[in-house]
């Protein structure tokens, strides 16, 4: 009971926080708080196996994948608060209030006595008792669920699968191709030159200088050049100086 009264406020605040915070990663973090608190509640209710599984599966794997995707696609910008659908906010408030009312009424009418049968259920130890149930009475549901999950996983793989039309070029083939290109067109063999970050300015959109003083266009990332496509890339040192000066302190 102590665990419940300690954790319940934390969980409610965290759950409300999920709705309120702007950044997706913060919401995921708060969700982790709710999940871990739930796991601790399981532990305090003498379901230790569920405690471990809740953390390993939900917090450790599923939410981690959420985070992975959030970070990968970079959804860390704050949400905009402008209403896109007219009356959206009012409708959401009304429906939310109705839902809360329903849940409140439903929960209010249910009365629970103290839990009975925990001793008998855990008589052979929590884990063996759970295994006993899972692989006898509920084996069909268990197998069906696993089949469903496997189908989903295979389905995701099939959808994301791309047939390779030609064999994948390995390190050896790539090296051979590079040498070939050099022999045919004289294209430089080695990696591209680094930008002028270390030369005089601390910005990756400053080109590196070749030994004769001319800027190397190859040293600039094409995406960065494209970003200022209203300007032509600088042609020599003077032009670079001018460009950096016009950017002011921001570029340094």
């Amino acid at each position: 009971m102590i665990a419940f009264w300690c954790l319940a406020p934390i969980m409610v605040v965290a759950a409300l926080g999920i709705l309120v915070v702007r950044k997706a990663v913060h919401a995921a973090l708060l969700l982790a708080v709710v999940m871990i608190s739930l796991a601790v509640l399981y532990a305090s209710l003498e379901a230790p196996f569920l405690f471990a599984v809740q953390i390993i599966v939900y917090t450790g794997a599923i939410l981690m994948l959420f985070l992975f995707v959030l970070m990968l696609v970079g959804v860390d910008a704050s949400d905009s608060l402008t209403e896109t659908i007219k009356g959206h906010r009012v409708a959401a408030l009304v429906v939310g209030a109705l839902f809360g009312l329903t849940v409140g009424l439903a929960v209010g009418q249910v009365g629970y006595g103290t839990a009975v049968g925990l001793e008998t259920a855990n008589a052979a130890g929590n884990v063996p008792a759970l295994a006993d149930l899972l692989f006898s009475d509920w084996v069909l549901a268990f197998e069906t669920t696993s089949a469903l999950l496997i189908t989903a996983a295979v389905g995701a793989m099939v959808l994301a699968h791309r047939e390779r039309l030609e064999p994948r070029a390995g390190q050896r083939e790539l090296a051979a191709r590079r040498v070939q290109e050099y022999a045919e067109s004289g294209r430089h063999l080695g990696p591209l030159p680094a930008p002028g970050v270390y030369a005089r300015h601390n910005a990756v959109d400053t080109p590196a200088l070749l030994p004769d003083g001319s800027p190397s266009e190859l040293s600039l990332n094409r995406t960065l050049v494209g970003r200022h496509d209203d300007k032509t890339p600088p042609k020599d040192v003077k032009a670079i100086e001018k460009m950096v000066e016009s950017h002011g302190e921001a570029g340094r």
């Binding site: 950044k23 196996f49 390993i56 981690m64 985070l67 970070m71 064999p167 040498v179 070939q180």
Partner: protein
């Protein structure tokens, strides 16, 4: 001879020794674990530097304190006094929280590691196990808490607001999830043999033979995945300094960086302790010693064996770091998913089959350790075969890949052509630059 097939039924799960300590004893144990971990970290840093130095024909830190043992303490103080920088682009709350999230779980996992048997406390008549607590799913508890620790690294990478950190965080989340699967699967065979997931019962089940010998493939897979799980070389891709500067901790400094550092070293100790507990008989004395000296497994002597085995693993970590280059990321992931996990699954099927056959009495007329050892040999051969063709396979693809192999120039690769009169011997002509008209 001990029948390997008969070792499991000996140890029914009995956790009655736990949960009876008074509050002051629990507090003392918690403090002791904390102290041991911090000291072990300081020692391990020094140990690693010394061992790596020896491997590189250097001496390593040997000035401060006896054998240079206080070097890591001095470094720690220096680290703590450095300027604490929070980047402008950082998400401050998460940035500060991340090292704490990484460090705390590292400490918590040690609460279920058995350091020794039930011992009598000095100056009292009270007996207590040398372990903070145990649970019916203690090993799963370690896995669960470790998976929370990953958040520290991932969030630290995200919150720094820098590309290198983000890439490091992404790498570590993918890497640790993948290798946690292989690690979890390697543990299943131990659970099957010990008939329990509690650490003290697993140690008790190894009183005749260590699981590291009986379940050799599981042991090998666990050792490989534990290196991946702790981000250590050759699997230290999240902090690959050649590619990502410092990876997830690029932007961290001072005490926050120290926390990440601490977490990494404690995690090393944790996975080593878990490997010791699950596969090397935990606190039990190595073979033969208990026969010669009956007291080797009693009182506080098991601490010696336990820490000895942990140090053995730490030495292994250092050895790997001193010898192996870092893997390429795709090879590393392919190794985890396409090699370790399938082998684990096949091995678990084998072990489970053996267990069922034993329970049904199929081996009653077949005594001795023949079957598991034969199975182990078969698996090792399969493992060897899996790695064997990797070096041979590359060559034929050369013909298939459609890269034309005509000689690009006389001499093959783009080296300067030889002078017509043949190779020139003797000193080269002095190098002269043309005057540039700039």
């Amino acid at each position: 001879m001990i029948s390997l097939l008969a070792i499991s039924a000996a140890a029914p799960e009995d956790l009655s020794a736990f949960g009876k300590d008074p509050w002051w004893l629990i507090l003392a144990k918690v403090l002791a674990i904390f102290l041991v971990l911090v000291l072990l970290t300081l020692f391990n840093i020094w140990f690693e530097r010394r061992v790596v130095a020896r491997m590189q024909h250097r001496i390593g830190p040997n000035v401060h304190g006896p054998f240079g043992l206080l070097q890591s303490l001095a470094d720690g103080v220096k680290l703590a006094l450095k300027e604490d920088i929070i980047p402008k682009a950082a998400d401050v709350v998460v940035f500060v929280l991340a090292p704490v999230i990484a460090a705390i779980p590292a400490f918590i996992t040690f609460s279920v590691i058995p350091f020794g048997p039930v011992v009598g406390l000095p100056f009292t008549d009270r007996t207590t196990p040398l372990q903070l607590t145990d649970m019916p799913m203690a090993v799963l508890f370690v896995m669960a808490i470790a998976s929370i620790g990953i958040y520290g690294i991932v969030l630290g990478g995200w919150a720094s607001g820098s590309t290198y950190s983000l890439l490091g965080g992404l790498r570590s989340s993918a890497q640790m999830i993948s290798y946690e699967v292989a690690m979890g699967l390697s543990l299943v065979a131990v659970f099957l043999y010990a008939g329990s997931m509690s650490t003290s019962t697993i140690v008790a089940a190894q009183d005749h033979v260590w699981f590291g010998f009986v379940l050799l493939p599981s042991f090998v897979i666990y050792v490989i995945s534990m290196v991946g799980e702790t981000n250590r070389a050759p699997f230290d891709l999240p902090e690959a300094e050649g590619e990502l500067v410092g990876g997830f901790h690029t932007e961290y400094s001072s005490l926050k960086f120290a926390l990440f550092f601490l977490a990494e070293y404690i995690n090393m100790a944790t996975v080593s302790a878990l490997a010791t507990t699950l596969f090397l008989g935990g606190w039990r004395a190595p073979f033969g010693i208990a026969h010669v000296w009956a007291g080797a497994n009693q009182d506080y002597w098991p601490l010696l064996w336990f820490f000895g085995k942990i140090l053995l693993f730490i030495f292994f970590f250092v050895w790997l770091r001193g010898t192996l280059p870092r893997l390429r990321y795709d090879q590393f992931m392919a190794f985890g998913w396409k090699v370790l996990i399938p082998i684990s699954l096949v091995w678990i099927m084998l072990v489970a089959t053996l267990r069922v056959a034993r329970n049904e009495g199929s081996f009653d007329n077949l005594s001795g350790p023949f079957v598991p050892i034969a199975a182990g040999v078969v698996i090792v051969i399969c493992l060897a075969l899996m790695f064997w063709p990797a070096s041979e396979k590359k060559r034929p693809t050369d013909q298939r890949s459609g890269v034309r192999r005509e000689v690009p120039r006389a001499g093959g690769f783009p080296v300067p052509q030889l002078p017509e009169s043949g190779a020139v011997r003797g000193a080269a002509a002095p190098l002269v630059f043309e005057e540039s008209d700039r």
